[in-house]
Symmetry: C2
Subunit: 430 residues, 2 copies
């Protein structure tokens, strides 16, 4: 049987999605009160199923790959879509790593006693139902399913149509793990239709049955979700990250960080897109910084001073300052002091991740205090913007909103809380 | 000069509001980096100005009262609108109390070191700009202005048209306090027009210049804000709060809590609306509980068992279980065990505040764990649902959403956070 759902009318889709939402809401009620051990057991059984069904997964992935090749998808797309034995093992290992994380549900975040003897606790609870809308990477099915289960949430997964066979094969393994731990299968549901109307229904919240949406994919997906969602969204639209080299920066450190921040992986959201060099050290620092980037095969687009520093630099136009290249290209500008750097970042940045390189604690504190991004760094690479690097174990994405989850979104960020108040008969006086 | 703005066209309103938003955004940038002492100084100067201008405030309030009387507003409305010397003093004292709270901005919420030596701090930051949309209570102007300033946020206040003269007179005192501390006047702005289109503009977020909206008022206001806002909202729609008397409840304690939860103030969101009595103790507890409520002049609407317990009980219809009376009326139902109580609350409650009365720790834990409300209590009155009673000093409202702020919203809940990462040259390995 092919996993492709038959084409349905819009009202059919709405009905299918409403039912999915109701099942997810019911499953969330069960999951919120499941013991940590049961979730761990399910996650380990999922990993085992993924290893056991490696052949099925590869076969399903080959169907997706063949279709994508037929459509002449670019190499980068095919690489994101492709599964190998190694990548499948890494999915299984990822689920085991999630199994090993601390369970956040039930954690007492804070606790205090009132003069009247009431004891108030702030206790971590699951969010409820999380909707994940993603594109071609099939591993998101396992990662997101695992993280949501660990945090006690039900999840509705809506993968891209071009990775649907792979997603279904992986989802079957997750379902096997849920079964093994006697958890409801509706804890992790895959939307059974590739019709785009299903996304629209999710964004409307499925009658209050979706608590938060996490989009995983390119800019156009995130933009649509942020624009149309009627429920909270954990996401970032862009990662326009800056490295600012202050006059008191050690040159060697600055060059190593600039090259790492830009070139370690150019396609991730924490990659630097602009280097700001302070005018006070431009004489000594600008030329070697630019040379280090150029020598690492990075295209450099600079302002007039940067162009003067090296003939290989091409002119930057105004649009370069707000560009997220996600490629081996960087814009470089000379700025006049830490306040000018902060002002540039406020104007062109995306509140994601920004770094200052300096030996001057006063300048560092000004930068760390005033730059209003989810992550600000002193003397370290912007590529550390990652839940794993933060010690969160795994992340479902990075958020730049100011509410609730900000920065890497790990299991803890996928929870809410409630106040538990214990008394011995207290009534409130007038 | 009358404070009433002249009638403007919709595009004029949009322009006025956009400018207001830009000024608020600029002020927020300043406020985020102001020292605690300066904010304290401003708050104390505001309190002094309110005391000094008591005569002006009373005169302005008399204008609003005269207009409201002319419109034959009900007594409860006039009472909410009316200012007295005592109420004005209480506003001033409230601002001083806010001045005395701990400043949340810059607090290090968490801090840890990674194996590579990076030190990661989670630091509290202001949210940015808060929009407050309220109705007739003029004191909200001072309370909300003070709480937002303390938490480092700029605020745009949009009061009801019927309290506008009072709001302007109070706002003038806040502006005087800001001036005394050399803070930007745009830190606390009052929308200068009573045109309803201004609310629509605020709900759209003023070009990204409003970070969160807090509605303060009746159900229809909150409903409109929740429906139309394109920015996050901290609010609760209803407080359908339950008191569940378990079979192991001490009868005297249960009766005292039930009467207090319902009758201390019937018009607040933490007032109980439904009493659930366990079938296992109905023989001994139902009749005296109902009598205690009736004797306290509360109307009791009950299911058939409750009706049988006392002839003064009137029949409850289905709508009673989901009713927020905000009055001296309560619905009473007999339920079969703690799970039935939890199920009733899940179906009819509003995720606000619910209490169990019992001497059985096991039953209490089941209730506290499974009831999915912002506040759950054991052996205490639902009327404790209040930021002051929680020790937060003051609150801007109570939220029942699952994101960010839940339960009482005090100065801490009016903040966001960022990650500050300190290194000594770390780059991320491949």
């Amino acid at each position: 049987m092919d996993v492709l759902a038959e084409q349905k009318s819009e009202s059919d889709i709405a009905g299918v999605m409403t039912a999915l939402g109701t099942r997810a809401g019911d499953a969330a009620g069960v999951l919120a009160n499941v013991s940590p051990d049961v979730k761990t057991q399910a996650l380990k059984a999922m990993a085992a199923a993924i290893r056991a069904r490696q052949g099925d997964i590869l076969k399903a992935n080959e169907k997706d790959m063949a279709a994508a090749r037929k459509k002449d998808r670019p190499e980068a797309f095919l690489d994101r879509l492709k599964l190998t034995e190694e990548r499948i093992e890494s999915m299984a290992a990822g689920l085991e790593a999630i199994a090993g994380l601390d369970d956040p549900v039930g954690d007492i975040i804070a606790s205090w006693e009132r003069p009247n003897g009431l004891v108030i606790e702030r206790v971590r609870t699951p969010l409820g139902v999380i909707g994940i809308i993603y594109e071609s990477r099939p591993n998101v099915t396992a990662d997101a399913g695992g993280l949501c289960l660990k945090s006690g949430n039900a999840v509705i997964l809506r993968g891209g149509s071009e990775s649907q066979h792979s997603a279904h094969a992986i989802h079957a393994c997750l379902a096997e793990g849920l079964n093994a731990a006697k958890l409801p299968e509706a804890a992790i549901q895959l939307v059974p239709t590739t019709d785009r109307a299903a996304v629209g229904e999710m964004l409307k919240g499925l009658n209050g049955n979706i608590d938060v949406i996490v989009p995983r994919g390119g800019r156009s997906l995130v933009e649509r979700v942020q624009k149309d969602a009627r429920v909270p969204v954990f996401a970032h639209l862009e990662g326009i990250c800056h490295v600012y080299v202050h006059e008191a920066a050690d040159l060697k450190m600055a060059a190593e960080i600039a090259v790492n921040a830009k070139m370690r992986r150019t396609g991730i959201c924490g990659a630097a897109e602009t280097l700001l060099v302070d005018a006070a050290c431009a004489d000594t620092h600008l030329k070697p910084l630019v040379a280090a980037l150029l020598d690492a095969d990075c295209e450099v687009r600079g302002d007039s001073e940067t162009q003067a520093a090296d003939p290989r630099v091409t002119p930057a136009i105004e649009d370069d300052w707000g560009a997220e290249y996600l490629d081996a290209v960087i814009s470089v500008k000379v700025v006049n002091g830490v306040d000018a750097a902060i002002a540039h970042i406020a104007r062109f940045g995306s509140a994601h991740t920004d770094a200052i390189i300096t030996g001057d604690q006063h300048a560092a504190d000004a930068f760390l205090g005033k730059v209003n991004s989810a992550i600000v760094l002193h003397n370290a690479s912007t590529q550390f913007a990652d839940g794993g690097e933060f010690g969160m174990g795994a992340e479902i994405g990075i958020a730049t909103g100011k509410m609730h989850a900000r920065g890497p979104v790990g299991v803890e960020q996928l929870t809410s809380f409630k106040y538990v108040v214990r008394g011995h008969g207290q009534t409130r006086p007038d």
